[in-house]
Symmetry: C2
């Protein structure tokens, strides 16, 4: 057997205890590329857990500034090696090198680390709360156990287990991370982990603050997330794997945050379609085909009201989808499952407008695909017609009238986003209110006149939503500081002597942490006596 690459466990790049090996493929060509990577056995998982727990306890004693230093240092190292990282990610994912990987995703990723660094230093994310009269004080703090982070295939940098949003949030809270690389881009993950670990060494933090394994058997994944030594888990990926991990973590009482599926309905109301159909068609094409449609927030379903404008819009989209060259999907698995999903939608009654098959030539390409169904059919069988077709395939639902539009909105399951396009003159306002009322309860982020694919990394962002988009409707995976709080516990101090309190709960507030003191948010010291 070929010697496989090393895993990063307990501060050492060392040979894995393997149960097998794998290699990446280049989805653009279908060719196997890069080195041989190990599938870790349970022994590796155990070793990472033990080292991670020790690191978690050691990190509790580290000043928050040190954590900020780590994240900044890592961001700098990532930027310095950006060319190699982006090129490797391009080879392993076939996502465009530029602008996507080199100019958008990588800078976003290092920027996210820097935001997390600032939050780790600033400490406002701990949400200190002080009630002076009863002398009760609380804040959020690290879990004292490592956080497992499972990254998805579609954002090899910004959501990578060893560099993405969950990673940054878990570290900022003061937890070590055990990253599970996605096996579609192992070499990218390796490069990132090298820089992350070098940053750990640069700043002198516990060596197991960052660990990484490439792949495990499914049962070792559920073992990891439910282990007594684990603190919590962050996962982004397919619903099936997510639900298996969730069941294991839930049964063990371990927090797990999942981002697992989303159709992201877009309602284009009649006035908007009439007013600026062509403009919306352009926006929709960009949003739908970006990254070959493999965004968590891809506008999977577009809901229109029956009429001439709707038919014109659909016809316009058919022409556009046929004209655009299909770009590669992320891998062979994605190619197969996209074909299966399109078939499932057809079986559920949707009609193919264009595409529907593997594109000719080498590599993982699927024809740009559009389907349509009626509102009536959708309301009758919303579950099957909400089958997620992850990739460059989108479904139109054509409603008979406003009432049916409203009922369609009420038939969606939990989603990350929902959009409503309306006219500027007010003609759509009444219908907007009816659709919004239904959609609002079913999506984490509601948009007006804007496609959902852009996810700004900003505090008020909600990259979350009701089940089954995620596992809990109250948390966001993007947006610092709120995303950090997921990987923390609430710690209350009752009558604890002042010098024994953590810095952010003491009377003086020299660091300028935002605190809620007697119900008022303030940067001031606590006045006592």
């Amino acid at each position: 057997m070929t010697k496989a690459e090393n895993v990063l466990i307990d501060g050492t790049w060392r040979p894995a205890e393997t149960t097998g090996t794998f290699r990446a493929i280049n989805p653009a060509t279908g060719e196997t590329i890069g080195p041989v990577f190990p599938v870790s056995s349970r022994a590796d998982v155990d070793a990472a857990l033990v080292a991670g727990r020790a690191a978690a306890e050691a990190l509790l004693e580290v000043p928050p500034g040190k954590i900020g230093e780590l994240l900044d240092r890592y961001a700098d190292r990532m930027d310095q090696r950006s060319e190699e990282i982006a090129e490797t990610a391009h080879l392993e994912t076939a996502l465009p090198l530029s602008p996507r990987l080199a100019d958008v995703e990588l800078p976003r990723t290092s920027n996210q680390l820097r935001q997390a660094a600032a939050a780790a230093r600033d400490r406002s994310w701990t949400e200190p709360s002080i009630d002076t009269q009863p002398n009760i004080r609380s804040r959020y703090a690290a879990l004292g156990g490592p956080v497992a982070v499972f990254g998805p295939n579609n954002f090899p940098l910004a959501f990578n287990g060893v560099s993405g949003g969950d990673f940054a949030a878990a570290i900022a809270a003061g937890n070590p991370v055990i990253a599970k690389a996605h096996s579609s881009h192992p070499r990218t993950s390796q490069l990132l982990a090298e820089e992350a670990f070098a940053a750990v060494q640069d700043v002198g933090l516990p060596a197991a603050t960052v660990q990484m394994i490439y792949r495990t058997a499914h049962q070792d994944g559920t073992y990891l997330v439910s282990h007594p030594l684990i603190g919590a888990t962050g996962y982004t990926g397919s619903r099936r794997a997510a639900l298996a991990l969730k069941a294991a973590a839930d049964a063990a009482g371990k927090p797990i945050y999942l981002e697992m599926s989303s159709i992201n309905p877009v309602f284009v109301l009649p006035g908007a379609l009439k007013e600026r159909g062509a403009e919306i068609a352009e926006e929709f094409q960009t949003s739908a085909l970006m990254g070959t449609g493999q965004f968590c927030t891809n506008p999977g379903i577009v809901v229109l009201q029956d009429g001439e404008e709707a038919e014109r819009f659909i016809e316009e989209m058919r022409a556009r989808f046929e004209k655009a060259n299909p770009t590669p999907l992320l891998g062979l698995g994605g190619l197969t499952s996209l074909g299966d999903s399109v078939k499932a939608l057809e079986t559920a009654g949707a009609t193919l407008i264009t595409g529907g098959s593997k594109a000719p030539g080498s590599g993982c390409r699927f024809q740009n695909t559009l389907l349509r169904t009626t509102g009536e059919a959708f309301i009758r069988d919303p579950e099957r017609l909400q089958t997620e077709a992850f990739g460059n395939s989108n479904l139109f639902v054509v409603a008979r009238d406003g009432e049916e539009l409203e009922r369609i909105a009420g038939s969606f399951e939990g989603n990350l986003t929902g959009c409503i396009y309306t006219d500027t003159g007010g003609g759509d306002d009444a219908l907007y209110a009816r659709v919004e009322r239904q959609l609002r309860l079913r999506v984490g982020r509601l948009l007006n006149d804007k496609m959902p694919t852009g996810v700004a990394v900003t505090p008020a962002m909600n990259h979350g939503g009701p089940y089954p988009a995620t596992g809990h409707p109250g948390f966001t995976a993007v947006g610092i500081p709120p995303a950090i709080r997921r990987f923390a516990m609430l710690q209350c101090y009752d009558n604890v002597r002042e010098p024994r309190l953590p810095p952010e709960l003491r009377d003086r507030n020299p660091g300028g942490v935002w605190r809620r003191v007697d119900g008022r948010w303030t940067l001031d010291d606590v006045k006592v006596g």
Copy 2:
């Protein structure tokens, strides 16, 4: 079959679809008392869910002031009927009428409703977050589905499903409640539900805003918490029932908040014992025997360091426990399970110091009980020696030295609270740091020099803790506003036109809601343009 009392479903006190009936007992005498109450079938659960969902959607359109009015009105009605309510609760629970029920728990309960009313009006609990540059805004908001609340036996008012903390929090967030009364105090729950429902009618809210059933089969409880129409669940009670509900809710992706068990370790360090052992003995007795030890935060285990003072303290407690008359437990079930737990502790190696059997005479009385074990034994078998003995039974763990004290602290599972008593001269400081480091990760609320039984209803309170004390370490069941956020979803608005935003996210802030605008907490309007 005797006609059973009515359940409150969909705005009507109506006969239950029963699968059986039950009656309360007076634990002081063991006698059956009061009317016959129904065990509801699944048909009642279904009816409550359908009506609750409709009410949830209707409540979304109701101005927040109306919700505040309901909670205030209910508090007033509760106070007006306080004598009857407290007397009924006294009969059904044998908890002291005064001061406990009439002068402490009832005022605390109505005060909690008033705090929730203020929060519902003030809206700061929605934690509005506004990023002006990208125009992204978010807040917490009602779930759009009813919240099921299961109350425990030990606080018939302050944690009752139809009047307690979870009830107040769920309503304040704008959700209707389906209360499951605890079957040990059905008449108390009935009186409370009468006032709650009358208040709903007084202020003209949807009739199904408050519903109540008395009891169901276990499988109908799991059906309720996992039903597609449910919004979320709050539960306080035994671990066994909690875990069955949790499994069902988790599998359905429904949020559930559990408060299920806690031993609440108290460490009395050597200096403190030497300095003020007698004083601490007095505090411990009060805390341990209050409510016959049936507090979620009862100091179940006291950890001491071996020595003359420790033996003197234990001897003092033996004398005190023997001198105090055993007060009644909450019911026959509690009497049996307390006996079983004490036996289980003995089997695990603990030695009986005093008590250990049912007290003579009528009613549900158990002898005031103390047991002891060594630190070594505890560390060897922490799981069995942490068996919760719910009632007037407490365990001493005597450690050989400071190192063993530290290891004991590290052997506890998740708890609501942990206390450390230290001397005033600084002699205990080094040991404090070592014990605290371990305990801090294992408890929601850490106390110094104070017993855990008092739970102030104040924003910084954490009545929560790591599993298995609760189901998630980031949430508190007591403390307004934070407790409210549990029954809410995070709703983000991206590029949504200003007049379409909910009031707390608009530019102007006439209501004076605390909002995080561009990273700063403020009461000001948003400056745009």
